[in-house]
Amino acid sequence: MSCEVLVLYFAKSAELADVRSEHISVAQRTTSEQLWEEIVSRHPRLAALRNHVLLAVRQEYIAIGDQLLLLQPGDEVAIIPPISGG
């Protein structure tokens, strides 16, 4: 079963993906690692940011790893690199 989620790209990830948000179709039951890999497969340049971003699902931090996610249609996935300007 797959479902459509909304991926939001912030800061450097928006620049590298060249898009600020998009709907993608992903497996409803997936690990956070698989979700990240799915996003990177669409935007290979994001690979450079692995270990340097927050991944948030439904506005909640998710460690990229084997954590199992149960996604619902319309869920918000956010890619949040830290920004350091001031």
Binding site: H52, Q59, Y61, I80, P81, P82, I83, S84, G85, G86
Partner: protein, 547 residues
């Protein structure tokens, strides 16, 4: 000349003049010494002596100048007042004509002093170039009538009240970075009556800071930011103690400095400083109210406070230096750090007054373009964190510049990718233009920067598109190469010069063009222009804008 003078006065004067005449006759000491003569030969010396002449003439005492007129070449009747006023930039009106020009000069000094200082208390904030031990902040047990009146609008808030206000007055806050975040943060903390504000910045005020760093001003360009900020803050609230640190936060001083404050606010502009401040806060047990802003986005989190994670719990490894964008490269809309700095002030005030924070386990994300705030629930403290975990490996501060592979400033670093032979100077490029040597000039900056300024004969291909080997761009470049080769020897490698703002991206572009030469592109000889368009402005065409 002696309109209202009495005889006695005249006699005294004549006696004085006779004494002077006798001295001149005896000629024991030279009347016109060398240093006086040298001084008069300078522009300022000339202006000063003209001001003195004008002063004496204004009161009809010009004749007294006769003493040093011979031999110095100074005129008894100096330059006319109109010219002198113009030289000094004084615009004359009815009021100025009532007095000598010296009076106007003095008024200007007084005005600029009051602008600089503002408060009736004329003592300027003290600038510290090293960390010193501060005396303990005195805990007040009650509010003065003056404080009650000043803070009345917040005192009546049940959430704050007298207790909260007293808590603020005995709190000290260190602000790391007096820029786009630090300015509004410091302003609200000072206004609210925090006890002591440490203001740290290594930089001086520049004109391109002013769109976001709103405590500084045009008349304080070149002044250390910490001092400039304190000068403005003193005008707002002279009851707060301001400690200015004109220094870079280094691992050597960070612990000693940070342990002297109750709350630390990270308003810095670079990655190494963020890790340094984080580790120092963990090691000293201080809450860290951290905000950042870039382009149209902002982030805010309170780290290391009542069990909340630290910066390293979330970002254990710094991002590769080449993926970090700073404000001078990426740009920032001034109000965005303004908003984040205000939110940061709010959290500092909540912690200092005893209300606690709302962002211990949340990251506030501000999307200025969409006008949306999102609160991302964060992970709890990472038990494996290198600095705040159960078995920390970091027990002393590290070399953060090495750790992050970048410098502790937001200044653009200078890349050295190309050899000397692969680069030309702005002046050499000017010569190529003047001699009409056939070539292509490729400007690799983003369109938004090209709109600000560009050289008229450039073709535009962004570095980003070159990196991606964008087909349209390569075709465009090939067409231009073919056109160029029609007027030169077709066998020859056609010269292509690459330019950007500062000469970093242009080096990357040359590397790519070298790879493509003779393959995807016709044979070309690529070089970049050292220092880019800013060097062009500095060395060749001063009318070309700087940004």
């Amino acid at each position: 000349m002696f309109a209202a003078v009495d005889t006695k006065h005249q006699d005294l004067l004549i006696q004085n003049l006779e004494n002077i005449l006798n001295k001149i006759k005896q000629n024991k000491t030279p009347l016109i010494n060398e240093s006086f003569q040298q001084f008069l030969n300078t522009k300022n010396g000339y202006l000063v002596s003209s001001l003195v002449s004008e002063f004496l003439e204004f009161f009809s005492l010009g004749f007294t100048l006769a003493v040093f007129q011979p031999g110095t070449g100074t005129q008894v009747h100096g330059p006319d007042r109109g010219n002198l006023a113009q030289d000094l930039g004084i615009v004359e009106n009815e009021n100025t004509r009532d007095g000598p020009l010296l009076l106007e000069v003095m008024k200007r000094c007084q005005n600029s002093n009051s602008r600089e200082d503002g408060s009736s208390d004329s003592s300027l904030p003290v600038l510290h170039n090293l960390v010193t031990e501060l005396p303990l902040l005195e805990a007040k047990t009650s509010l003065s009538n003056e404080a009650i009146l000043r803070y009345s609008r917040q005192l009546v808030l049940p959430e704050l009240g007298v207790k909260g206000q007293l808590n603020l007055s005995k709190s000290s806050v260190l602000i790391v970075g007096c820029g786009g975040l630090g300015c509004p943060l410091a302003q609200y903390l000072a206004a609210a009556g925090i006890g002591r504000l440490g203001l740290l910045d290594y930089d001086v005020v520049e004109i391109n800071n002013l769109h976001r760093q709103v405590l500084h001003g045009e008349n304080r360009q070149g002044i250390p930011k910490s001092l400039s900020a304190a000068t403005a803050l003193k005008q707002l609230n002279s009851g707060v103690e301001y400690i200015c640190y004109n220094l870079i936060l280094t691992p050597k001083i960070a612990l000693e400095l940070i342990q002297q404050y109750d709350i630390i606010a990270d308003c810095s502009d670079n990655v190494p400083t963020r890790y340094l401040v984080n580790d120092a806060c963990v090691l000293t047990g201080k809450p860290l109210v951290s905000a950042s802003a870039l382009r149209m986005e902002g982030q805010l989190t309170v780290y290391n406070y009542h069990g909340s994670p630290c910066y390293r719990c979330l970002f254990p490894v710094p991002p590769p230096a080449e993926t970090v964008t700073n404000c001078s490269d990426g740009g920032v809309l001034g109000v965005v750090p303004g908003i984040m700095g205000c939110l940061q002030a709010l959290e500092v005030l909540k912690i200092a007054s005893g209300l606690g924070t709302s962002f211990g386990q949340f990251m506030l994300m501000f999307d200025a373009l969409e006008g949306r705030f999102r609160n991302i629930r964060l992970r709890p403290k990472n038990q494996n964190c290198a600095v705040c975990g159960a078995n920390p490996t970091i027990r002393v501060l590290q070399d953060y510049e090495a750790f992050c592979g970048s410098s502790a400033s937001d200044k653009c670093r200078t890349l050295h990718l190309l050899s000397k032979e692969e680069r030309i100077s702005a002046q050499e490029y000017k010569k190529i233009l003047d001699e009409q040597v056939p070539h292509l000039l490729v400007d690799v900056r983003p369109p938004v920067e090209v709109d600000i300024c560009h050289l008229p004969h450039s073709i535009y291909i962004t570095l980003d598109k070159l990196e991606r080997k964008n087909l349209d761009c390569l075709n465009h470049l090939n067409r231009k190469l073919l056109e160029g080769k029609q007027i030169t020897d077709e066998e020859m490698s056609f010269p292509v010069y690459v330019i950007c703002k500062l000469g970093n991206d242009s080096q990357k572009a040359v590397k790519i063009l070298q790879e493509l030469s003779g393959k995807e592109l016709g044979v070309l000889l690529a070089k970049d222009i050292t220092g880019g368009l800013m060097a062009w402005s500095n060395k060749v065409d001063p009318t070309f804008p700087q940004y």
